[in-house]
Structures are given as C-alpha cells and as structure tokens.
C-alpha cells in the first residue's frame, strides 16, 4: 500500500524482503517516499526499522523484491543521506574533514574552504546559535555537538543535493531546545520539497513533525496512514504493546518507608543523597554533569586493585558498546561478570552456579534467546540492555548506578525494567538513575536536577513534574519554551 503522490517518488520499495539466515528481518514491504513528505517510522526494537533503512540507504540488497530510485541509478545519485544511531563520524577528524568522508567531490585545492562553507551553512541553518567551529576535532566535542554535526552533514549542500534524509533517533543526545530546532528544520526542509524518514521512540516528536506514519511490527509494515489519522494511544496500540504509557504510577503510590531524609546512606560531592531503598533520579539537560557525577561516584565506591564479593555499588551502562558489552563473550558470561566473586572458590569459577544464575536471570528479566551460551551480540539492543541490567542486579550490591540505561530501548522492555527496579527498591536497594526522559524520571522518589555540573533543584514526591524539572534545567531569563 502506497500513498498516492503526483510527483515522482524518491525511493520505492516493491515487496522488499530481507532475511538473515532463518530470520526474516523484513517481510514484503511496499513503500514509497515522495518529495515533501516526512515519514515517521515507528515500531519496537526488532520490528525491522533498521533493516528497512539499510535497504533504502543501499547498505543491504533485498533478498526478494526490489528497491528503486526513480530517475537515479543508485542511492547516492538519488541524494539519499542517512544519520544512523551507531555514529558515522570519525572522531579524529575535524568537523569539515568529516564532510569530506561522505562528499567525494571535495578534492583539489581549496576543498577545505568549500567543506567548511557547506557544513557551517548547514549548522547555521539547522541550529542557529550553535557554537561549533569547523576546525574543531570531533573527539573534543560533546555528544550533543557531535550529533548536531552528524545531522548538519546529512543536510549539507553537496554535489548531489540531499533529497531524502533518514534520521534514526536523531535527538537521542540532544536537549529539548536543540531538538526543537531540528524539528523546525525538518518542516522547512520538507516544505522545500525534501523528504525525511524520521525514526524516534519519542512519539511526541513523531506527531510533531511527521506528515505520514508507518508502523512496523515483526518485519512488516502494518499501518501506513497520514499522521492526522493516528492518536497517540492508537499508535502505541498499533505497535503491539498493551502497555499504556500514560499510566504512570503516582509518586505517592511509590512512596515506601524511606525514613527521615537525614538517614541517607550515600552522598556524592555534588550533593546527591539517597536513602536505603530509594530511587533517586538525576535530571536536567543532557551533558550537564550527571553522567560524570555517577561515574565518579561509582569509581569511588569500587577498587581498581581489589575485586569484592560484596561490592558497594554496581553500574548499568547506557552506552552499551562503550561501557557495557563484552563483545566476544556469551550472554551468560556477560551477565555474571559483576557477580564473579560470588561464583569463585579458590580462584576457580563454579560453572554450574554460573549457569544457574544465568538461567535464573534469563527468566526473571526475560532475555529472549534460546541459549544463554549464544554470543551477546546475537541479541537485539534491548535484550543486550536487559543482560546488562541483570549483570548489575545479580550482585548483592546495595546501590545500583544507572547512566541513562534506556537509550534506544523499546517501550515494552522499559515497562518490564521499571517494574523490576521498583521491586528491587522495595527489597531495599538504592538506585541512582540518570535519565534524559521525563517518563523515567517520574518513576523516582526524589530527583536532583543538574545544571552546569551542579544541582539546581531537589524535588520530591508530588513536586516531580515536567514543569518543575524544566524550570530547574534552564537558566532564568532563557527562552525555555
């Protein structure tokens, strides 16, 4: 089913399928994207969104069916650009040099000037007021700035103008005001005849910007309608999860016997405190020192020299590749790493006990795999994240430190993990939880809002509202809309 469009489409998928061995990642998808359209692509992890994008951007060839670019020989000539979740920048190059990697016409004398002109023009157009310079090394920039550069490169002028830009979770590291600038630009780009495929787990963004929404489930496109025909609830239902994400347990319902505020069991140099069994949130705009505060806290509570069978704290990574996953190992080995000391007798690992812990946590947290001995990389991102949660929870540590651990995780997994966190907290564990998403922060008993590396507000119970957090996140006098 395709939406009628008078002008020629930029890309047409005709019954395209893609299989990886026995797994059918994409199953007979028909889709066409025309100029001026902003297509919102939604679906859970593993629904086939990434595979669809990889077919469109020419990374894979379809196993069956076809992908065509009317009027162009291939995806490059068709002006298809993509910004992927895994990072397409080279950290050792400057901003302008990174443009050279994707734009082949930048050669000969004076290519630097041309490249700087193009990338800075794009940055100025999309993110007015940014403070990025063309000669800065990517490695020296913040995560948000890197994402902005990636987006700018996607939209930048080039030998082949951008006609379709695929944005896969483009706002994952951006704060609200920068994300709003991007939304504005996407609308402007589409009004000018460009097309965008927009993938986000933030449904608000999808509704904000998409003219048409395609819902994917199990490798199929199950709904393809103008955005106005969907309601938020309808969209969530279509994705196949009954979990209603508007249902937030009221903070009061969460309140447990936490005792007096002075009975805290930990206090960081920044002033973050927590009591036994408390879920403490670290909020605020991305990159304001929350992650650093957590890492410092964790490192101060663990030793570089001595492993402990009763660690004082455990860490759940949000950046799985950088901070969490051991790519060579099986799921089981990844899962038991933090609890290894409890499995060790005379320096040797008790493999039977390890297998027991592995299968116990597979059941408890629902890691979807036939065999815990499979490589961790055989899992989808959400399930890898579950394994990392299980790694932390399988220890006896009284404090669990979580560094924005839900990045790129689908709603279903999130709901399961929220429940688990509440359950563990009720059993007396303390959680320090940095999150960039309001839904998650509402799960907390107490929230510390960070601004410029320091705490700007401490909110508790019913005070934890989006308005209060936003107010504390922004400087006064700043146009925080």
């Amino acid at each position: 089913m395709t939406t009628g469009n008078d002008r020629a489409a930029v890309v047409v998928l005709d019954g395209a399928s893609k299989s990886f061995g026995a797994l059918k990642a994409l199953d007979r998808v028909d889709l066409s994207v025309g100029p001026g359209e902003c297509l919102g692509l939604v679906g859970h992890n593993g629904a086939g969104k990434s595979t669809l994008v990889n077919l469109i951007t020419g990374l894979f060839a379809p196993t069956e069916g076809g992908v065509s670019y009317p009027g162009a020989a291939d995806h490059r000539a068709a002006g298809i650009r993509s910004i992927s979740q895994e990072g397409t920048l080279c950290p050792n190059l400057t901003v302008l040099e990174n443009l050279q990697v994707t734009q082949r016409d930048l050669t000969g004398w004076g290519w630097r000037g041309a490249a700087a002109g193009r990338v800075m023009a794009a940055l100025d157009a999309i993110f007015p007021g940014h403070r990025i310079r063309a000669h800065t090394l990517v490695i020296d920039m913040t995560l948000a700035e890197q994402q902005m550069v990636e987006i700018a490169i996607g939209f930048a002028e080039g030998a082949t103008p951008a006609r379709l830009v695929v944005l896969d979770e483009p706002t994952s590291s951006l704060d609200a005001s920068i994300a709003a600038q991007l939304m504005t630009h996407i609308r402007r780009f589409c009004a000018g005849g460009g097309a965008v495929i927009f993938i986000s787990h933030m449904l608000g963004e999808i509704f904000d910007v998409a003219t048409r929404i395609v819902v994917m489930r199990d490798g199929r496109s199950i709904a393809d309608r103008p955005a106005g025909d969907f309601t938020r609830q309808g969209l969530v239902d279509a994705m196949g999860h009954v979990a209603d994400d508007d249902h937030q347990p009221s903070p009061a319902a969460l309140a447990r016997a936490l005792g007096d505020k002075s009975s805290h069991i930990l206090r960081t140099p920044e002033g973050v405190e927590a009591r036994r069994g408390e879920i403490v949130g670290l909020a605020g705009l991305a990159g304001h020192g929350q992650a650093e505060a957590l890492a410092r806290f964790y490192l101060s509570r663990s030793s570089d020299w001595r492993g402990a069978s009763d660690p004082q704290a455990v860490f759940v990574a949000g950046d799985r590749k950088r901070d969490g996953v051991m790519p060579v190992w099986s799921i089981r080995r990844n899962l038991t790493l933090a609890a290894l000391d409890r499995l060790t007798r005379w320096g040797l690992i008790d493999h039977a006990a390890e297998a027991r812990i592995g299968s116990e946590w597979q059941k408890r947290i629902g890691i979807r795999t036939p065999d815990m001995g499979n490589p961790i990389l055989s899992l989808s991102g959400g399930n890898q994240q579950k394994a990392l949660f299980a790694r932390a929870l399988a220890t006896q540590a009284p404090v669990v430190v979580m560094d924005d651990p839900m990045r790129g995780v689908d709603i279903g997994t999130k709901t399961e993990v929220y429940d688990m966190i509440r359950h563990e907290a009720a059993n007396g564990r303390t959680f320090l939880w940095y999150s960039t998403e309001m839904d998650e922060i509402r799960n907390c008993d107490r929230v510390f809002v960070f601004r410029d590396g320091a705490i700007s507000a401490e909110l508790e119970g019913v005070q934890i509202t989006e308005e209060a957090i936003l107010a504390a996140s922004f400087e006064f006098g700043d146009s925080a809309a």
């Binding site: 001595r306 492993g307 901070d323 051991m326 060579v328 790493l337 320096g347 040797l348």
Partner: protein, 315 residues
C-alpha cells in the same frame, strides 16, 4: 568433535604435523623422526614458555605486548648463573628463585611504567628492556659461567618415555595456564579487560591488579625460560633471548589467539611452537641458503595466518 577444524588451534597443529612430515620424509624417515621430534619438543618448549606469558599479555587487548622478554631472559639467566656459580644443592634453589624474582621485579617495573606514565605497553616494555639489557651487560662483563651440572643434566635429559624433561615441564605449566584462562576468575578478568577495559572497570573488575599480575606472570615466565635456556646451552649469553621476542608473538598468534584481545588459546601455543621449529629445520634439510630460508619462513607464517584468520573474517 565434528567441528574440530573450527577450533582456533586446529590449523597450528595441522601445520606442525605437515612440517614434521615434510622434514621427516626428507631426512630419509626412520630413526631421524625421533631425533627430530626430540629436538622440536626441546626447542619448542622454550617458545611455549615465553609464548604462554606473551599470550596472557596479548589477551589484554590491542597495544598490550611485552617487548622486554629477551632482556628479561638474559638478565635472569646472567644473574642466577652468577649466583649459583656452578654449585649444586641448595644453590640451585637459590638460582631458580633469583630468576623468578627477577621476573617479578621486571613485571612490576613494566607495569609501573605503563600505569604511572600512562604510556602504551609496547613503548614502556621496550624502553625498560634497554635498562634490563644494560644491567645484564654490566653484571655479565663478558664472563661465561657454567650452570650446575645437575641442572645441565636435567635440562638436556629425557627421563620419562624418552620425552625431554623440558617438554614435560612446559606441558605441566601449559596445563596450569589452561586452567587459569578457562576456569579461573583471573583468566575471565583478563579476557574482560582485553575486550573493553572501560566496561570491565565499570563491571567491577580490578583492572590495575589484574594487569599487574599479567605483566608479572609474563616476566616470570621469561625469567624461568632464560634460566632453563642458560642451563640447557651451558651458560648465559647476551643475545640468548633475541629470537624469543618475535617467537613469543608468533606462536601466540599462529596458535589462534586473537591479537584484538579477549580471546586466548592455550593448545595452539604448542602447535605454533612446534611448527616454528619444524619449518626452519624443514628448510634447513632442503639445504637452502639463509636468504631463501628467511624468506620462506616469512611467507609461510603469513600464509598460515591469512588462511587461519579467514575463518573469522568479518562481514
């Protein structure tokens, strides 16, 4: 068992057997085979002992390589032989302990440089090896001290089943390493560091102490090998360790351990060590000159690595 050819050490063993067959057939078969086997096991043992230590270090990930093995071997051999001064009995124990303690000291210095100066291990161990070598030159003064007779007899002897004592010793140590890497927490932690040191630290792995223990183990193995080699060859020589730098790396990688870290392979060390010795004797028995011999050794190593690594080529 059906998939034995998928084991990372399989190709190293195939190559070793092929080299053995080729050399044996050239030397007219028969009794020459036993002599060749004994020689391969003896000289292979030294490669195995250094290779095991190097493998532990390489498992800790990219950049982790101990370039101080030759200097450590020389230093340990020189000082321990000087201490024993040909005397037997309790002096043998003292000499062995000296060699091992020198290993411990070298390992600690190597680790301290890596840790305190935050320099790549290759550079740290390389720079430090110059110091060790100077120390050995200074203490040796060109004298060649004979090892105690008992030790010379032991290292050249074949007490059990006609297999060299050195091979039995190396085999016993190999088993210990296999247990460390496959069954022990220490091995698990080395592998974690090799895959992602940052993630390992955040998962509670005591990265500093594991790294220190690994470098110390590697240096101790080098010290022990130096001690045994000096006893075997009738005295310490300044360049006695030279070939073991490349050899220790080569047997590790030919044996199927991943140079990218995190993945090690103990049986492959033996396959690699025997192969490296046999390939040289094969080329020797063809009566080839030094140039062709070197050239073919290099080509064969690369060919083996290219074929063996082809299995795990990424998409």
């Amino acid at each position: 068992m059906m998939n034995i050819y998928k084991a990372p050490w399989f190709w190293a063993w195939v190559a070793a057997f092929a080299a053995f067959g080729a050399t044996w057939s050239l030397s007219a078969g028969g009794g020459g085979g036993m002599a060749l086997l004994v020689a391969a096991l003896t000289f292979g043992s030294f490669s195995v002992l250094t290779g095991l230590g190097q493998m532990l270090v390489i498992t800790m990930g990219p950049g982790n390589t101990d370039l101080s093995i030759p200097a450590t071997m020389t230093l340990a051999a020189t000082l321990s032989l000087k201490l024993m001064n040909g005397a037997g009995g309790v002096w043998i124990i003292a000499g062995l302990l000296t060699a091992l303690l020198i290993g411990v000291g070298v390992g600690i210095v190597n680790f301290a440089l890596i840790r305190l100066l935050r320099i790549p291990p290759i550079i740290a161990t390389l720079s430090a090896s110059f110091l060790y070598q100077s120390l050995a030159i200074w203490s040796n003064r060109g004298l060649r001290i004979k090892p105690p007779q008992a030790l010379a007899d032991f290292t050249t002897g074949r007490a059990v089943l006609g297999i060299p004592n050195l091979a039995w010793l190396a085999l016993a140590i190999t088993v210990v390493f296999w247990v460390i890497l496959n069954r022990a927490r220490f091995g698990r932690r080395i592998s974690a560091i090799g895959q992602n040191p940052r993630a390992a630290r955040l998962a509670g792995v005591p990265v500093a102490s594991v790294t220190a223990a690994t470098y110390v183990t590697c240096a101790v193995m080098a010290g022990l090998t130096g001690f045994l080699l000096a006893c075997f060859s009738g005295g310490a020589a300044l360049n006695m360790g030279a070939e073991f730098l490349l050899m220790s790396i080569a047997v590790t990688v030919i044996g199927g351990s991943s140079i990218a870290g995190g993945n090690s392979n103990v049986p492959g060390i033996w396959g690699g060590a025997l192969f490296m010795y046999l390939i040289v004797s094969m080329l020797n028995s063809y009566g080839l000159g030094a140039g062709v011999r070197l050239l073919s050794t290099g080509v064969i190593i690369i060919a083996i690595v290219a074929i063996a690594s082809g299995r795990k080529a990424r998409l």
